[in-house]
């Protein structure tokens, strides 16, 4: 143990003024989005009776999808604006919170239907959430199934500075390093928007590298493999070199898998780097510079500040971690969004400095 001062279990007051980088307003259903669709899609969804585009990764009724005391009296998790304000914003004293809607448009098999749902969600979030509370910001949801449509959506919304990030599911139809996705990274760089990868999948493939799991336990715990794959893909295909300003945020990744992953990447790179000569620096150095991670969940033993401090020391980058509650997902009890054991100076950065540095657009509204 080093001589740094570790924070104790932190509660509401500690997070006062913090920037919450991952909250989830719920989409009640397709009916909510119809006013934000064109005539064809309004007609089509109604006539074909299509609804229930909730993500398989977060079934609305599953315990993980909503903490019991955050579950609204009626409707799906996160759908009540007044409740979200009271619990997610007032409850933690949050100054700014970034809305990351998770809904089927981002994973739909139809490119055009996916794009229609994504566009409707973005306009709905802007009109009914961002307009309603100045503390809220949002990610642009895009159909990564069709990179050209994703780019159109980014171009359509980038002028609204309350959109601070591009949101993608952690697993898509291909690994994100493939050149198929490069138009999205080009648009992200052009507009200074970080790309957030959120736990979850398009489920085009089995979510594990060995096949389909039988249980939710397996599916959820194995998510960190997906994040590792995407990081390796972006790294080894040269995306970080090709797009020098691209920033990546891993949302709901669990965080503590990172040190072992970094060590293994560096060790292997030293031996085989000549097959990827565009990876010019040790992978850990590149990842520490370009990748950020939200802090809920943070997978460590309960109430073990020494273990938390060890992980923070091993990650060895004060600027990598971002405060998040993951509201209304059930990751912690009460207001204990910050695990005990984080050095005080690091905690100060996590709560505010790091989010401001990661999302340049946030700085415009607090200056």
């Amino acid at each position: 143990m080093t001589a740094v001062t570790l924070s104790r279990a932190a509660s509401g007051p500690v997070t006062r003024g913090a920037i919450d980088c991952d909250i989830h307003p719920g989409i009640p259903g397709i009916a909510t989005l119809l006013p934000y669709m064109n005539e064809f899609w309004r007609d089509s969804f109604v006539r074909r009776g299509m609804d229930g585009f909730d993500m398989a990764s977060y079934p609305p009724g599953a315990p993980i999808a909503c903490r019991a005391d955050w579950r609204p009296a009626a409707g799906k998790p996160g759908t009540d604006l007044a409740q979200l304000r009271r619990q997610a914003l007032d409850g933690f004293g949050t100054s700014i919170a970034i809305c990351n809607p998770l809904y089927g448009g981002q994973v739909a098999v139809s490119e055009t239907m996916g794009a229609a749902i994504c566009s409707a969600i973005n306009d709905w979030i802007a009109a009914e959430w961002l307009d309603a509370d100045p503390r809220l910001r949002a990610s642009i949801v895009v159909p990564a199934q069709a990179p050209h449509l994703a780019v159109e959506e980014i171009e359509r919304l980038a002028g609204d500075r309350r959109f601070v990030q591009i949101l993608l599911p952690a697993a898509a139809e291909l690994l994100y390093g493939k050149s198929y996705y490069w138009p999205i990274w080009t648009a992200a760089e052009k507009h200074g928007l970080p790309v957030g990868l959120h736990a979850g999948s398009m489920y085009r493939y089995a979510p594990t590298s060995n096949g389909w799991p039988s249980h939710y336990l397996h599916d959820y715990v194995s998510q960190s493999q997906t994040f590792e794959d995407q990081l390796l893909s972006l790294l080894s295909e040269g995306v970080f070199l090709r797009f020098p300003k691209l920033r990546l945020v891993l949302l709901e990744s669990g965080v503590s898998w990172l040190p072992g992953f970094l060590w293994r990447s560096v060790k292997t790179w030293r031996g085989v780097r000549s097959e990827v000569p565009w990876v010019k620096r040790p992978p850990a150095e590149i990842i520490r510079e370009r990748v950020r991670l939200t802090m809920q969940p943070f997978d460590v033993p309960a109430d073990d500040p020494v273990a938390v401090a060890d992980i923070i020391r091993q990650i060895d980058a004060d600027e990598m971690l971002l405060f998040a509650t993951d509201y209304p997902h059930w990751q912690f009890e009460g207001d204990r969004a910050i695990p005990p054991g984080i050095p005080r100076e690091t905690l100060r950065r996590i709560l505010r400095d790091n989010p401001l540095a990661t999302y340049p657009r946030l700085q415009e509204s607090i200056a």
Partner: protein, 137 residues
Amino acid sequence: MSKHVVAAVADLPPGSRKLVMVKGRPIAVFNIGGDFFGLMNRCPHQGGDLCAGELTGLVTADRPGEYRMSRPGEIIRCPWHGWEFDVRTGQSWCEPGRIRTKQYPVEVASGDALVKGPYIAETIPVAVEEEYVVVEV
């Protein structure tokens, strides 16, 4: 420091290398186009036998998907885990500032000069009219 005769130049032509023992140290001696270099024959990673590694060029790129080969025969790749070292400096490619193998000065001297000393040639017979590779340890 003392100077040790380790080979006749004629026995170590360009592109070749030789493992020698000097004062109990294993040293890999390389001839790159007529220039001679000596490296401690221990990979700083886990002690692999560098002299037994693959002698190759430097692969670099300015953008993804591009492969550029330069400096043929100037990079030695450890046979154990593939770490690359610059034969001219002993520096690793991956972390040149931190990871390197010790370099020993190597020079070429004529047999004529060697006879006058102060060179040590325990195992190499020296002829006045030949040239020799000399390692300083």
